[in-house]
Every structure is written in structure tokens, then in C-alpha cells.
Amino acid sequence: MSETENTTNKHLDEMKLLLYVERQLDRESAQEVSLHTQTCDRCLTLLRALDRESRLLTRSLLEQDEPLPARLAEFQEKVRTSMQWIWGVVFGMALLGIYALYAGYIEPWEQQVEQAGFNGTNLLSLLVFQGAFWKGWQSMFTLIEFVALASFAGFAFFLGRKYLKRGTALAVMFASMGLLLMTPGRAAAIESRHGEAVTVAKDEKIKGDLLLNGQRVRMEGDVDGDLIVFSQDVEIQGHVTGDVLGAGQTFRISGIVDGNVRVAANTLTVSGTVGHNLSGWAQHLALEGSGKVQKSVWAFCQLLALDGQVGGDLLAYTQSTTISGTVGGSVDGRGESLSISSSAQIDGSTKFVGEKPPDVASRAKLASPVDYTKLQHRSRMERGSGFSIWSIIWATAYLLFGLVLLSLLPQFSKEAATNVEHVGASFGLGVLVGFAVPIAAVIACVTVVGLFVGLSALFLWYASLYFAQIIVGTAVGQWILGKTNEFWPLVGRMAVGVLLLRVGMAIPYVGFWFKLGVIVWGVGALSLAMYRRLQPAMAPKIPSMPSGPVGTPLPSNTTVGSA
């Protein structure tokens, strides 16, 4: 074997030489490299090359090849002011907005709601029972629209913040928080029973609230408290001293409930006695002949058959209402049809807004004739200038909403707008999320734990429908005016895009489908951006390494060692 071959066989690998250059070897290994390079020209040359490569890298990276961009120079001013302050202002304004919502929308309803048995005063109960539940989905829409206006107010406040003292704004913010959140509801222990078939026997007496959850629920005993039930098939034959809250496919109450009944069901039948009020969301709601509701009935259903007695008022948002029983107060109905049979008796006034005139039997006992108003389906054109003004207001609100979103979530908005270009993925995901989320949220609402999550998800989902239009508008604006990463040019493109979309949406007949398409597209783009953000950080693929100190043997696949 020649001397050259001998030397070559002992060449150091590149990894070791690099670590030597980087001063990462332990003393022993460093000495080994030092000794070797004194006798091996090849390794010495490689060592020098690696060292020169390090210096070339450092020099190249440190070279000042471009000045600080103007945007960053301007940003200096922004750095001086705290972003926490901006968030504080926006948060405070949002709370003020909620308070305004309470004062303007909810408070006027409070008296009426209290008459119906809702005497809760905390924010959650007001939002849940008055906003989302009582006023139906339209209230959710109003709430979101109000949030858009609140965002506008927040933005206006943001612009004018330099004229206000920080302490004042914070005081307002915390005062608002205090006003809204100072009355939390009572917390109480609750007994619960679960299973396929859950029964409370006739001789059982439950002290306190009771939660029943199962495929079939029979309640024949006494509950000295509230009863909360979620089941496919529910029958309450016993006595409940508090309220009954629940949901199910079939819900029958033949016993006695001293408090209120609030139930969402496919079929809700009451043949027993309800001491306070009955509120029902159902396809079919029947108050049978033997059934009694001491106070008011609020019915949101397809078919309402009222054969029993109602001590107070009847409020009915139904497709079809038939009254054969007695109503001690007034009747306020809205729907397709109202039929009052000969056995009916209404002691108060009767109002009906519907498509068909009410069918009133001649023998029916009414305190006054039915005040009937035909339901008008006016086209947008017929709605006149008021509609146009509101269109402009809402278009402006959209733009301001977009402005706030772009300033608060700049990176996310840009990513979402970029995703709009992935038409297939966005549409696919948009269809999935657009339809699956509300279904999942409604399912979540069926459980007590999921109620808040479900409502929150619905709220966010609805908000995303608005956000989606902003995102698609931004993408459209960028297609027309070119792409940009600057804030104000981006806002300009968003404004152009959103206005074009609004024009498209105003086209008769086609507008609705256009809007639907835009929303699905935008929701998909948003979901895609969200999905990418929520992707867990994946560990890079790395070959296994010894855990010992640097200088211990390195994996064979990283170097070739000697030839």
C-alpha cells in the first residue's frame, strides 16, 4: 500500500472539520484535527476552504445592500404607542357596544320578558334567552350587524384616541365591564341521571335541581327544584316545583309544573298544568283540552293547536294556529293562517299578521274583533329610498368592518385573500364548513355543556359569513388593481372589491345566488387560512443523533469519512 493511499484512508470527515472551524469540538477531538492537518494537505485545504466559506457567508449576510424601507421608517411612530392600548380601546368599545345593544334593544323587551317568566338579569341569560332564543335567528343577524357598527365605532375611537386621555378611556371601559358583568347567576349543585332509559319513580322525591339525559325519560316522581331534560322521548307525569327546561323529539307533560316550561322538541304536548309560562319551539305544539297554562304561552312552531286554557297572553309565531280553548289575555299571532273555532274564548284583544285572513267561527267568544294585517312581501324596489339609504349605510359599514379586520388581522386577512385564488379548495371547504358548522353547533346546543359552545360557534360562523365577503372583495380588488402588501392600498382594493360584490348582490334574482357563491368561496378561503394556522408544528425529520457532547461519533450518513 502506497503512502498516498495510507494518508487518504485517514482523511477526516467534513463534519468534524466544520465543527473544528466552528470551535465546537472538545479539546481531545480538536487536538486530533490539529495534528492531522499538520500532515494531511487535503484535509488542511478543506479546513481552510470551510473557514473561508464561513467568512464569505458572514460578509455576504452582513452587507448592507438595501436601506430600511419607508414603511418601516414610518412604523417608528407606531412603535411609540402601545398596541395594548389599541386593543384596550377596541375591547372597551365592544363592551360599550354591547351595553348600547342592551339599552337600545334588550331593555325595552325586559318587561315583556319578565311577564313571560324570565327574571334573570345577568348578561348571559339576556343574550341567550332574549337575543338568540326569543327573537329567533333574526336577532342573531341584528347582533352581528351591531357588531359591525361597534367595530366602526371602535375604529372611529381608534382614530381619535390621541385626543383622549388613556385614563378616561380605561375608566369607561372598566365601568362598562362592571355594569355588564356585575350580576352573575347563582351557582347550585345539580343531581343528574343518565342512561338509555331513565326513570324517576312515582314515590321518589328529589330535593334540588335534576338533570335527566337518556334515550327515554319518564318522570313520575316529585322534583323540588328545576328539571332539565334531554332525551328522544320525554314524559313528565310527576310534579316539578321549579322550571322545566329541555329538548327532545317527543315531549309530553301530563303532570304538574309549578314554574315555567321552556322546551325545544319535534312534538310538544301539554295535557297537564303549567304554573307559570310555556315557551315552545316545536314542529307541532299542542295544549290539549285538559292542559292549563296559568300565564302566557309563547309558541314558535309550524303547527299550534290550543285546546286547553291559557291564563295570560298568547304569542304565536307559527305557520298555522288553531285556537279552540280559552285565552285569558290577548292573542298576538303571526304566520300563514289562524283559525279560531266555535269553542274558543279570548278575553283580550286579538291581533294577527298573516297571509290569509283569520278563519273565525261565528260562535267563538272574542272580546274584540280580530285586528288583521295582511303580510306584505315587498320587493327591494318597492321599499323605496329608505332601502337605498340603508344599502349605503350597510355598504359603508361593510367597508369599515373590513378596515378594522385588515388592521387587526393583517397577516391572516392577506393569507385568506390569497387562498381565494385556490378556487377549488376554497369552494369545497366552504361548502363543508358553511353547512357543517351550523349543524354541528345546533347539535352541540342540545347538551347543557355544549350550549354555550354551540351558540358561540353559531355566532362565529355567522360573523365569518360577513368576513368572507370582505376577503373575497379584497381578492377581487387585487385582481383588478394589482397585488399589494401595503395597508392603505390593500384597504382601497378591498373597498373596490366589496363595492363590486355589493353591486352583484343587488341584481334581482341572480343576486342571491351570487351572494351565496361569494360567501361559500370566502368561508372556504377563511377556513383554509385557519386550517393552515392550526396545523401542528411538525417535527423535522432528523436522523438520530447521539445524545452525548459534541465531538462524539456522528451518524454515518452525514459524512463520507475517508475514501
Binding site: E14, M15, L18, L19, E22, Q24, R42, T45, L46, R48, A49, L50, R52, E53, L56, L57, T58, R59, S60, L61, L62, E63, Q64, D65, L68, P69, L72, F75, K78, V79, R80, T81, S82, M83, Q84, P410, N485, R532, Q535, A537, A539, P540, K541, I542, P543, M545, P546, S547, G548, P549, V550, T552, L554, P555, S556, N557, T558, T559, V560, A563
Partner: protein, 185 residues
């Protein structure tokens, strides 16, 4: 140091001065580490916004610029990770391939012939992790421990990441040279 103490106390003038002093270096760091100028601008702004919250965590016994680079490195790497930009060629199967030691003379020649501008352009062609590692080591002089921490790899693997990054860079620099395919043994 006074400047940092004042900035920590909420002195807006100090904040402005701090920004003026460090923004160019941080922008250059981001410019080297991220794929576009716009990204670098965004990242620089975000880093300084973040700094307001993080400054309380700064240990005055250590170098401020080193700490700031660490914050910047973490931010840029997070940004790249979120975009899955690191799912590029160096993230997948390439890690499994053995590296070939370059021919020393050819490597010397390649280094001699290349300018700083060419190196920066070649850097643009690198995978996210390779690029990030080189910038952290040779721009901001971060230690192996800090690089390991920022990239989420074990400390002994940092040398491997850097060596692979150099190989990628050589390939990008010498598309038509023999080094482009790993050199000779």
C-alpha cells in the same frame, strides 16, 4: 442599557430610539431569513410590537442584541412554520441522503469566484430551515444552543443542519460546476 431601562419603563422616546438603533439590523435579519421583502417588513414590525411585551423578560446581564436576534429568529421561524414553508426539499427526504465531501480545491475555487450578492441570491433558493440556520449562525452569530432552541432540534444536530445548508448553498452557487452534485470523493 439606559435606553432599554427607559423603554422598559414605558418611555416612548426611548422606544423610538431603540427602534431607530435596532430596526435596520432586524430588518436585514428578516430579509435574509424570509422569502420576500414584504414578509421581512411585516416581520420586523411584528417583532418590535412583540418586543413591548417581551422586554420585561429580558435579562440585562446578557447582550441585548443577542437576545433581540433570538426573539427575531423565533418569530421568523414561527412564521415560516405556520406557512409550512419548511415543507420543502430539505425537510423531507433529503435529510436521509448521505453528504459527499467536496473536493477541497474545487470548493476553494467556488468560494473565491463568488460575490456577496451571488451568495445572497443563492440563499433565496435554499430551503427554509437551511436558510434560517445559516442566517442565525453567520449573520447574528447565534450559538449552537440558541440555534437548536430556535429550530427545535437537538443541539448535536445543529452541526448537521449547518453542513447540509452549506451543501445546498454550494449547489445553488455552482449550478454547473461539479460541486453541484456533491463534488468528488
Amino acid at each position: 442599557m439606559d435606553l432599554i431601562v427607559q423603554a422598559r419603563a414605558g418611555d416612548t422616546q426611548a422606544w423610538g430610539d431603540l427602534y431607530r438603533e435596532y430596526a435596520p439590523a432586524i430588518f436585514r435579519f428578516c430579509r435574509r431569513a424570509l422569502p420576500s421583502k414584504e414578509d421581512a417588513e411585516d416581520a420586523t414590525m411584528e417583532i418590535f410590537m412583540k418586543l413591548r411585551d417581551k422586554l420585561a423578560q429580558y435579562d440585562p446581564s446578557r447582550s441585548f442584541s443577542a437576545w433581540l436576534y433570538k426573539v427575531a429568529a423565533n418569530h421568523c421561524w414561527d412564521m415560516l412554520r405556520r406557512r409550512k414553508a419548511r415543507h420543502d426539499k430539505d425537510m423531507d427526504d433529503v435529510d436521509e441522503l448521505p453528504l459527499e465531501t467536496p473536493e477541497p480545491n474545487q470548493l476553494e475555487r467556488l468560494i473565491e469566484e463568488r460575490t456577496g450578492e451571488e451568495v445572497r441570491k443563492a440563499l433565496d433558493m435554499l430551503g427554509a430551515r437551511a436558510r434560517m440556520a445559516l442566517v442565525m449562525r453567520y449573520y447574528s452569530d447565534m450559538s449552537y444552543d440558541e440555534i437548536a432552541d430556535a429550530l427545535g432540534v437537538r443541539r448535536p444536530f445543529v452541526g448537521v443542519v449547518l453542513l447540509r445548508a452549506r451543501h445546498e448553498l454550494r449547489q445553488a452557487l455552482g449550478e454547473n460546476s461539479p460541486l453541484a452534485v456533491g463534488g468528488t470523493r
